[in-house]
Amino acid sequence: MLLPHAHTLAQARSYLAALADRASTIDASSAYEHVLIELDRIHEDECPAADTQGLTEDRAILLAVATSSLEELEQYGVDPLTVELVIAMLDDAYAVDGT
């Protein structure tokens, strides 16, 4: 894994972790956590650490930046369909969080 890929992955993980921490219910938190675990599984658990400090509290903003960093992963050789599926999972989790 090259450094830019790792950097993007670290960002995506950080945003997902922040979403899981700030979720309104325990079910939503679990759903975000599943997205994060799925992302780790795709990379065969070879991922850098997440850092949620200093990130915004606004979940809508976090969702937008998380989606954009996930989309960015396509540039580093991650299968586009897999990335789409992860983004779909993230949207579902956000729907659970919103209700």
Binding site: L3, A6, H7, A10, R13, A17, D21, I26, D27, S29, S30, E33, H34, L36, I37, D40, R41, E44, D45, E46, C47, P48, A49, A50, D51
Partner: protein
């Protein structure tokens, strides 16, 4: 488990002690037939005596006397030759003599497994069967885990059973071809002294929990309806966790436990407020644990089946109607499974970190910009290898997840009381019931 086999033996002997007029009960037309039945009973008795001797051997290294010795010499082991004589060692010796001097052989497997038509002989058979099974529960491996108060409880049980044997020996003496116990008077007094010595201290009846138990198995078959389905999945999860999960699967299991506890707590709150509080605390612990496990990676291990059972538990629990009432028995079942699982997860994390199956993720190195050079090197920081205890997740596991040790509640149980009352009971004449008149 010794609790089961010991209780079976005591129950049979209590029933035998309540039977009088033995010769009438040994139904047989000729003295020859009665002699045969008597011989069978003696083989069963020999099986019981063999176990009594074995139990005393297991307990005697720990069966310290509660009476102060006249000349305390700590360099002499308990029960060894020349040391201060204890009641337990004397009982062990008397039992050994009774075993050696009896001409009967211990009952064969065939004799133990074949039910007898005579109900009294059959009780002897069941007692011998329980004694044969109890050899599992008082072997050397079990004796290694025994504490001194538990050994005293075992000596107390052996003493009560020996007294029962002595009383029955007197009662059966008219049976044709009967062979009385060797030195039965000595045996009776030794058992009385041992029982007295035990009761000067505080025997720990947790000895009942020691011994062999059947292997727990996965509950297969159709899904049980309602809350029982959740219990089934949770039970299977505990068993499936025997294989070490990898980091990803461990995170999924931890997540499932967080959800199970969170969704079960409202049901528990209607029945038992304290249990609901404990489970709310468990949710907190698992949330912290999950947050910290994000920074742990590792590919070794499996755990796919455990994840599936965890997901089953969550899905079945979510499908449960909100007004369902959960029995206290089921709730305590959940608490038991939660304790076991917490212990197992704590073990998996600690061992994984210790032996290198789990790794800590590193934060990315920063790019140094404007170093004045054409090539910008990655600035790296090396972190010295520290011990596993410095990891936050290990700390959480040790301080919060590990279930607090609760001493198992140990009571003497009804069978010990029953055997004692059977030992001292007197037969009522003509069926008169012995009740106080007001």
């Amino acid at each position: 488990m010794y609790g089961e086999t010991g209780a079976a033996m005591r129950a049979e002997f209590a029933a035998l002690l309540r039977q009088h007029r033995i010769q009438q009960r040994l139904v047989g037309a000729t003295p020859k037939e009665r002699e045969e039945l008597g011989g069978l009973i003696r083989t069963y008795r020999q099986s019981v005596i063999v176990w009594l001797g074995q139990a005393m051997r297991a307990a005697s290294p720990l069966a310290f006397s509660n009476m102060p010795p006249a000349q305390p010499n700590p360099f002499r082991a308990v029960g060894s030759r020349g040391s201060h004589l204890t009641a337990a060692s004397e009982l062990a010796r008397a039992i050994d003599i009774a075993r050696q001097q009896s001409s009967a052989r211990p009952a064969s497997t065939h004799a133990l497994a074949t039910p007898s038509a005579n109900p009294m002989v059959d009780r002897w058979r069941l007692a011998a069967l329980a004694a044969a099974l109890a050899e599992h529960d008082t072997n050397e491996q079990v004796a290694a885990q025994m504490t001194a108060p538990q050994a005293q409880a075992l000596v107390g049980d052996v003493a009560a059973l020996t007294q029962a044997l002595v009383v029955l020996d007197q009662r059966y003496k008219n049976t044709p071809g009967w062979e009385p116990l060797a030195h039965s008077a000595r045996l009776g007094w030794a058992s009385l002294a041992a029982a007295l010595d035990v009761n000067l201290g505080q025997p720990d009846y947790a000895v009942d929990h020691l011994g062999w138990r059947p292997k727990t198995k996965v509950i297969t078959g159709p899904v049980r309806p309602g809350i029982l389905g959740v219990l089934q999945a949770q039970h299977n999860l505990v068993i499936r966790m025997k294989s070490v999960p990898n980091a990803t699967n461990l995170r999924l299991v931890v997540d499932s436990q967080r959800l199970v506890s969170a969704h079960l707590a409202p049901y528990a709150a209607r029945i038992d407020e304290r249990l609901a509080e404990r489970w709310a605390e468990r949710v907190e612990t698992y949330s912290v644990l999950q947050k910290e496990l994000r920074e742990i990676g590792g590919l070794l291990g499996k755990g796919g089946l455990a994840v599936a059972e965890g997901a089953n538990a969550v899905a079945r629990l979510k499908a449960l109607p909100k007004d369902a009432i959960v029995e206290p028995r089921v709730l305590s079942g959940f608490q038991l499974l939660f304790n076991r699982l917490d212990d197992r997860i704590a073990d998996a994390i600690e061992d994984g970190v210790e032996h290198g199956a789990f790794f800590k993720r590193v934060t990315l190195p920063r790019l140094v910009d404007g170093g004045g050079q054409l090539v910008r090197p990655v600035r790296e920081r090396f972190v010295p290898v520290t011990s596993a205890t410095d990891l936050a997740v290990v700390k959480t596991v040790r301080e919060r997840l590990r279930p607090k040790d609760e001493p198992p509640t140990a009571t003497p149980g009804p069978t010990r009381v029953d055997l004692d009352s059977a030992l001292i009971h007197r037969p009522t004449r003509g069926g008169t019931v012995d009740v106080p008149n007001i």
